[in-house]
């Protein structure tokens, strides 16, 4: 018992581990909650595209010697609004707009990065994440943005629910549909920027999709799905970080693989969605 406790407490002796843990729990929760809408609206592609769309912003920020997070934030919001603009009703489909912007901004990002001679450490961290390098300032930023995004999602729960489930009814209720769509994209962009430091551009999509998809398998209401996904995201963040500490492996990858393990476990126990539940009910 004490051995387990020691094992759990030992990493917390380090400040960077404390900050890393808090950051990965925050990001785990945030990605999972926002990811519920991504999973339900089948927009996993969008999450990935936005993450890669952020690259040119980061590269430009690096070239201009300004804060990388600010560059990422600006690029994320620009790409989000670009997608919204290109996919206005009556023009091209949303996934086509995403595809176009995704390819363009990824190419621009690669092009800009290739001009940077010394392939800097900071930049690789943006690509693959570096949870152990979270400074107190970063932590405040992550915490603040996570608060803003989560509060918005809670406050606009019913509007986002009806918009994603039944856009025609949303129109009948005279909700400002375009405004809400843009807001959703911006919340997604903020989430991705916050997550970059923890899991990197390459793995953000996995953090958005995997815990939410796991929760979807066993819940029948959106609110329950969000709460469960948040729990799974936080749990993956913690377990992944301990794995990374003790086995000296990349933290972002460890977090994502933990989330994937959970998904596989639930998927196997509930082979079809909800398959587990009717059986349980009839037994009780």
């Amino acid at each position: 018992m004490t051995m387990l406790l020691d094992w759990l407490l030992a990493p917390l002796a380090y400040g960077f581990m404390q900050r890393g843990l808090i950051a990965s729990v925050l990001v785990g929760i945030l990605c999972a909650v926002v990811g519920c809408y991504i999973v339900l609206r089948s927009m996993a592609f969008l999450g990935d595209a936005l993450a890669h769309g952020i690259l040119p912003g980061v590269a430009i920020a690096y070239l201009l010697q300004v804060n990388l997070t600010i560059g990422a934030l600006a690029a994320g919001i620009a790409v989000a609004l670009g997608i919204a603009f290109l996919s206005r009703p009556g023009t091209i489909r949303e996934d086509t707009a995403i595809g176009i912007l995704f390819a363009a901004s990824l190419s621009l990002g690669v092009l800009l990065i290739s001009t940077i001679r010394t392939y800097a450490v900071d930049l690789t961290h943006i690509l693959f994440g570096n949870v152990l390098g979270v400074s107190p300032g970063d932590l405040w930023l992550i915490g603040g943005l996570a608060c803003i995004v989560l509060t918005t999602i809670v406050l606009l729960y019913k509007e986002f629910l009806v918009l994603s489930f039944d856009p025609v009814h949303a129109a009948a209720l005279r909700l400002p549909i375009n405004l809400l769509r843009h807001l959703m994209l911006i919340l997604l962009a903020l989430t991705i920027v916050v997550s970059l430091q923890i899991v990197g551009v390459g793995l953000v999509a996995a953090m958005l999709v995997t815990p939410s998809a796991t929760a979807y398998l066993v819940t029948r209401r959106l609110s329950h799905m969000m709460v469960l996904a948040a729990g799974l995201g936080a749990f993956s963040g913690i377990v992944g970080l301990y794995l990374s500490f003790y086995f000296n492996v990349a933290s972002g990858a460890a977090v994502v693989l933990t989330a994937t393990m959970l998904f596989v476990l639930v998927f196997l126990l509930a082979p079809r969605r909800g398959a587990l539940w009717p059986r349980r009910r009839s037994r009780s």
């Binding site: 339900l40 609206r41 406050l155 019913k158 509007e159 629910l161 009806v162 994603s164 489930f165 039944d166 856009p167 025609v168 009814h169 129109a171 009948a172 209720l173 005279r174 979807y216 819940t219 029948r220 209401r221 959106l222 329950h224 799905m225 969605r273 909800g274």
Partner: protein, 272 residues
Amino acid sequence: MVPLPEEPARLEMDHVTVVYGGHLALEDVTAQVPHGARVAVVGPNGAGKSTLFKALMGLVPLYTGQIFIHGQPLGSHHDCVAYVPQREEVDWRFPVTVADVVMMGRYGHLGWLRRPTARDRAIVQRSLEQLGILDLAERPIGELSGGQQRRTFLARALAQEPHILLMDEPFTGIDVATLETTLQVLDHLRDAQVTVLLSTHDLNLAAAYFDQVILLNRRLIHYGPPEEVLTPETIVETFGGQVFWLEPRGEGPRMATASHCCPPEQSVPRRR
């Protein structure tokens, strides 16, 4: 019920034309629907019935003309019009229960940042009861039969407590029990003085249960009480040869049904 003369028309269509990419779906439709009336919209497939409802909801832009609700132009009112589409375009695998969906009818009354109150829950409960689906309240929407899904969305429209209810072909593809429930709901709505527009292919139902009938085939062909509007001549004018005449059974000569299950392609009037 005789329309109250002092009430302004709840619903006014003034030279409404709707165009889909060069194709005229509705042409110059003008009609006033009085307070509390129950109106059947009848016409063949592709006549523009659904388009008319979408126009009334502001879901398709008007090419020309105007729509007034309570004398106000479309868009200035809140959520006093409820709409039950012909085909719900919702995500059936979305994690919402029947009660969640019906509660969505209350969202317009709730407004921003507010959570449902006990009163909203009572209204949802009552709507579920009225449609006979209270026992399904906690079931996910995707696990219902087609008829149960129809009842759910009708319950949501009731929970919205609308002044005007638009029902696009609620009688198609349902069993006798659901038909009976739907007719009961219509009677309840009449007591509550709700104006109802309902599209149907069933001329007998239109004749038996409605105050007014709109015969529509891209243009408004006739509008008035069923006994005036549903004559053999006007029906042939609307449906072309696509009508079966049944033997009169002591109820006068007007027993016609439009064949809508398998309409002969060539007899559908195509006047583009």
